[in-house]
């Protein structure tokens, strides 16, 4: 007779990182089946929203949406709606139109259709005008169709799709009546169920060392910092969060973590905090989110109502 309260933990390389799913509280067979469906949801997000897959919605949009409306998957449309809203509410600090800046820095591959000389948008210079620029640049039409205003628009959903994938995986686990679980896409994670989950946050300046420990229950936690490749070094690599105002990597914040009810919002808000620092307070509050970030001088800034859940490393 199989234990009805088993727990399993599985990991697969997806979304350019390691996606880990833990599930507990049913038989092993029931958990394996639920985790399989959850990974399938993540794989769907990967297939639809990857910049690298040539037949993803993102690649189809970047190739063709300037010439005419392109129909996308319901999930892609949901992410684009959220991205445009976040762009507006963050005063431009969150922007999915950073693909060309990422390419210039070698963080995204060149794609022939995108490397033709792109006219710079004069309206991308001030934050007030940026609001209108994205609404003018990305048109969300009925029936999941999307159109770009001109051929200089190129999107990358790398700052939001991982969190969305985590939310879809959690949804799949819950649909299968898994009572307790965790989905972690390379540090963007969400937990659900009655248990507390303890999360260590890597020090953005030295990723092999934890900077603090956070107790999380029924919530999402996402982090942004330099990339980390322990195959080669224990040091963090350059940051791949782009400041839309300068089209260069975020410089004065070395890492940020955001806690929110859902992971898509937490994921996207880390980019806002990386770029805006304490000025992100209104949008954090709007989304019921808390944040901590480390500025380049080593100071930790943390929203005040989060202090009981966060334990800083000695």
């Amino acid at each position: 007779m199989e234990a009805p309260h088993a727990s399993i933990r599985r990991a697969r390389p997806l979304l350019g990182t390691f996606v880990e799913i833990a599930a507990a509280g049913k038989t092993v067979d029931a958990l394996e089946a639920a985790v399989e469906v959850a990974f399938a949801a993540v794989a769907t997000v990967h297939r639809r929203m990857s910049f690298h897959e040539t037949d993803s919605d993102v690649s189809r949009l970047n190739r063709g949406a300037a010439a005419g409306a392109v129909r996308v998957h319901d999930w892609t449309y949901q992410v684009l709606e959220a991205a445009c809203d976040l762009h507006r509410r963050s005063g431009g600090a969150f922007d999915i139109c950073v693909a060309t800046a990422l390419q210039r820095l070698g963080l995204l591959p060149e794609v022939p259709a995108l490397s033709s000389p792109a006219p710079r948008l004069p309206s991308l210079t001030t934050s007030g005008e940026r609001d209108r620029a994205v609404h003018a640049a990305i048109e969300l039409l009925p029936e999941h169709r999307v159109r770009f205003a001109h051929n200089a628009v190129a999107i990358d959903l790398g700052g939001i799709a991982k969190g969305f994938a985590v939310d879809r995986a959690v949804e799949a686990l819950r649909r299968h009546d898994v009572p307790d679980g965790l989905v972690n896409a390379g540090g963007d994670l969400r937990v659900f169920g009655p248990l507390n989950h303890v999360i260590d946050i890597r020090d953005p300046r030295q990723p092999d060392r934890p900077i603090c420990r956070i107790t999380l229950r029924n919530a999402a936690l996402a982090s942004s910092a330099g990339r980390f490749d322990p195959v080669h070094s224990r040091d963090a690599l350059d940051c791949s969060v782009i400041d839309p105002a300068t089209a260069m990597p975020a410089r004065w914040t070395s890492g940020a973590s955001v806690c929110a009810p859902g992971c898509m919002i937490a994921d996207a808000l880390t980019k806002v905090v990386m770029n805006a620092g304490e000025a992100a307070a209104p949008i954090l509050e709007y989304h019921g989110a808390d944040a901590l970030f480390v500025s380049a001088d080593g100071r930790v800034h943390m929203t005040a109502n989060w202090k009981n859940e966060v334990h800083l490393a000695a």
Partner: protein
């Protein structure tokens, strides 16, 4: 409007002994069965590869490989169908280490042949970690290597 608390952290001390981050997800045997649930026989095919059979029928190939870096050890498994297409990739073991024990054969022995019956307590002995985005590039490259070697139809 949220208020902010501010702390100053001590400068990074390189000598701090960092905890290793390690998870065993699946044994080789458990991964084989998950990848090929209908298989009743796995025939060794040299190295860490197995042919999966359901009765007389060949249903795929199972390959175990690893990535070893200066501070990282990842053991992963790739399941290919008879056409040589990737069906799934599972991480079997993940370990970030900062002491050099990664290359010790004694440590490798800890998971070779280990069964899936060892219970795994989520959130207690194994910690969750968030922070700098980990690259899975090396596993992706490994899967490409495996496809180059085994990606043609098997007989």
């Amino acid at each position: 409007m949220s208020d902010w608390l501010r702390f100053t952290l001590p400068a990074v001390v390189a000598a701090v002994a960092s905890p290793a981050y390690a998870v065993q997800y699946l044994s080789i045997d458990a991964a084989k069965k998950l990848a090929f649930p209908s298989a009743n026989r796995f025939v060794e095919n040299g190295g860490l590869t197995w042919k999966a059979h359901a009765g007389d029928r060949l249903i795929g190939l199972f390959v175990v490989d690893h990535v070893i870096g200066k501070h990282l050890y990842i053991d992963y498994a790739v399941a290919l169908n008879p056409d040589g297409r990737v069906m799934r990739v599972d991480i079997l073991q993940y370990r970030e280490s900062y002491g050099g024990e990664v290359r010790e054969p004694g440590w490798l022995a800890q998971f070779v042949g280990k069964t899936s019956s060892s219970p795994l307590k989520v959130g207690s002995d194994i910690r969750n970690i968030s922070g700098a985005t980990l690259s899975s590039l090396h596993v992706t490259e490994g899967v490409k290597r495996i496809l180059a070697t085994y990606g043609s139809p098997t007989r």
